[in-house]
């Protein structure tokens, strides 16, 4: 068991992550504003669409002009935002950080990668919704929003969790005393 991270470091790492999760929930409105800003930038960069700055809307939203010169407002609600799911992921990271066999750095890395993936998935979802609204109108948007969007979110989250666990359990992070360690057949009690 040599080389294990001291308990204090693990507990501190976990506490920092818990604090991060609480901050994400408490400041979810700020999170939504950040998300809408990224989405605005992405939409403009990818499609060249005209987007209005954050101040154009009283709520966190992506305000953009579609091809027919119509203005569209895509509001980022609490349930559309990634903050709460992100907080849940960070709480998972906090729990994993307490486990002696996992290095805290590896757990923090896995949580950070997971968080980045979640934000990315939600950005892809928002931008796709904006494109569907711009090019297809309200009908197709309802499809994309209530059905496809949920599927993307759920499978995106599942894939993210898979990646997080994969990073955490990857060989090389363990504190194994010997690669040959294992059962000792024939040893009597």
């Amino acid at each position: 068991m040599t080389g294990r991270t001291p308990r204090t470091v693990r507990v501190l790492t976990s506490l920092v992550l818990v604090a991060g999760a609480v901050a994400l929930v408490a400041g979810e409105h700020i999170g939504r504003q950040v998300e809408s800003s990224i989405a605005r930038w992405l939409l403009h960069a990818l499609t060249g669409a005209t987007v209005l700055p954050a101040g154009a809307s009283t709520v966190p939203a992506v305000v953009f002009q579609s091809g027919d010169l119509q203005w569209n407002v895509l509001e980022i609600t609490v349930e559309c935002a990634v903050a709460y799911v992100l907080a849940a992921l960070v709480m998972l990271g906090a729990a994993l950080a307490l486990v002696p066999r996992f290095g805290p750095l590896r757990v923090v890395l896995a949580t950070a990668v997971g968080a980045a993936l979640l934000v990315l998935v939600n950005q892809v979802r928002i931008v796709l919704l904006a494109l569907v609204l711009a090019h297809g109108g309200v009908g197709p948007f309802e499809w994309a929003h209530s059905f496809a969007g949920s599927v993307v979110s759920l499978f995106g989250l599942a894939a993210t969790l898979f990646v997080v666990f994969l990073i955490v359990i990857r060989p090389g992070t363990g504190r194994r005393t010997s690669p040959q360690a294992g059962p000792t057949p024939g040893v009597q009690a």
Partner: protein, 444 residues
């Protein structure tokens, strides 16, 4: 209020996503392991359970332990089938039966069968205690016969358990790997045609459980199930003179002990064991509640696995995930399922906003079904492929029965929790009935 709803929804989504990751990973790993072993989903689908010693390599001495409490209805054929091995001994543990279990076992088992009679107050202390009593006898017999303990296996069988033809030929080679401490065979329900409940048990065991167990070969954490369960004698000896615990799921407890000691637990696609399914709902609830209680209690042993630095992370994580299933999935989901259902109904206008016309409703409804019921569709296909004799209607019915059968899990998980809180750890043994005459085996 909005924040509360969002938080509960987030918890629901997390539970669904975590279970999706575990379920899909295990199922896909299982199918991959089957292919790696040169097998396919239909393997053993039409197995016959009569001659387990066909092509037996005779490379190990095998002691079959059959704990019995009033098993006169089924014990005869079981010991008869186990009597044909070149290097096997059957020990029937009569745990204080009121019926003719011991008499029938002696009569049908022949010279290779020993009946270990336990009487009250020692008897009827649970399956673990009965197995521990027989373990002492095994050690004595091994010493008396001058057998090499390294080449001795102990197999636990239920009184109604039957090994598939040629089972030993597939199992014994697994133990040539010195890191393998135990092996569990896939379970088939013999009376699956009896009623809906027995069919559903067969679906659970043969479709989901068997395939995920194959997947667990990757981490060496195949769960032991107490029937068709082989363990290396030397691995058991490491656990002392009483390797089986008093837990309600002594088999799961043994699996944790072996994994914690660094042993790999294996299975094979080329052999299986069949047993009776429970035919009445009341008895099924009692049985499953006992399993849940044992499983939930075993959760407290996660630390033992995690504290052994020689166990790979993947193995420790898989065992932890498995032990956490009732706590992380079943109990929370029993509440969140109704929350999700209520949300779906109360917010139907926005949830089904895409249903703006009949064609849109039809196409959208179909796509919604495909996504929402994806695991059910997956297991339907797997069950149909696992045994080609199972028609699509039956497979579809079983695959979708979870909508109703989830409630069995909910009732049993909560029942187990209540018993745990009240400190009740009594053993409710599953009652078995005489088998119907077996029809001739039909090819797939």
């Amino acid at each position: 209020m909005n924040a509360f709803v969002a938080i509960v929804n987030t918890v629901a989504v997390m539970v669904i996503a975590l279970s999706l990751v575990y379920f899909l990973t295990a199922m896909i790993a299982g199918i991959h392991e089957l292919r790696r072993a040169g097998a396919a989903l239909p393997v053993q689908g039409d197995a016959v359970y009569e001659r387990p010693f066909d092509r037996e390599p005779g490379s190990f001495d095998v002691y079959f332990l059959v704990p019995c409490l009033n098993e006169e209805a089924v014990i005869g054929p079981t010991v008869r089938a186990l009597a044909g091995g070149r290097r096997s001994t059957t020990i029937v543990i009569d745990d204080g039966s009121d019926d003719d279990t011991a008499l029938i076992a002696e009569r049908e088992g022949g010279p290779a069968t020993t009946v270990l009679r336990r009487t009250l107050p020692d008897a009827r202390q649970g399956k673990g205690a009965a197995l521990n009593a027989a373990f002492g006898l095994v050690l004595d017999l091994v010493a008396e016969r001058g057998q090499d303990p390294e080449r001795v296996l102990v197999c636990v069988m239920d009184a109604d358990g039957r090994l598939s033809d040629g089972a030993l030929a597939s199992i014994l080679p697994l133990f040539e790997d010195p890191t393998v401490g135990g092996s569990q065979l896939a379970v088939r329900i013999r009376n699956r045609d009896q009623n809906f409940l027995t069919r559903f048990q067969d679906f659970q065991f043969w479709s989901m459980s068997a395939v995920t167990q194959f997947g667990r070969r990757k981490t060496g954490t195949v769960s032991l199930g107490g029937n068709g369960q082989f363990t290396r004698l030397t691995a058991l000896r490491e656990l002392g003179t009483e390797p089986w615990s008093a837990s309600l799921t002594e088999d799961l407890d043994l699996a944790i002990s072996l994994v914690a000691n660094g042993w790999r637990l294996e299975t094979t696609p080329d052999a299986s064991v069949d047993q009776q399914g429970v035919e009445s709902l009341r008895r099924l609830v009692v049985q499953r509640r006992r399993w849940y209680q044992g499983h939930m209690t075993a959760g407290g042993r996660i630390g033992e696995v995690w504290s052994n630095p020689s166990i790979p992370h993947a193995r420790a994580l898989e065992v932890s995930a498995y032990l956490s299933v009732p706590w992380l999935f079943d109990l929370p989901w029993s509440i969140l399922w109704h929350w999700t259902l209520a949300s779906l109904v109360l917010r139907a206008d926005s949830q089904f906003a895409w249903a703006t016309s009949v064609p849109a409703a039809l196409i959208g409804g179909f796509l919604w079904y495909l996504v929402t019921f994806a695991p059910a569709i997956f297991t339907t296909i797997v069950y149909h492929r696992r045994d080609r004799r199972i028609g699509w209607p039956t497979a579809i019915l079983m695959g979708h029965a979870f909508v109703v059968m989830n409630y069995l899990s909910f009732v049993c998980a909560w029942g187990a929790l209540i018993r745990m809180v009240r400190g009740r750890t009594g053993w409710d043994k599953t009652t078995r009935t005489a088998d119907e005459p077996r029809p001739a085996a039909t090819p797939a």
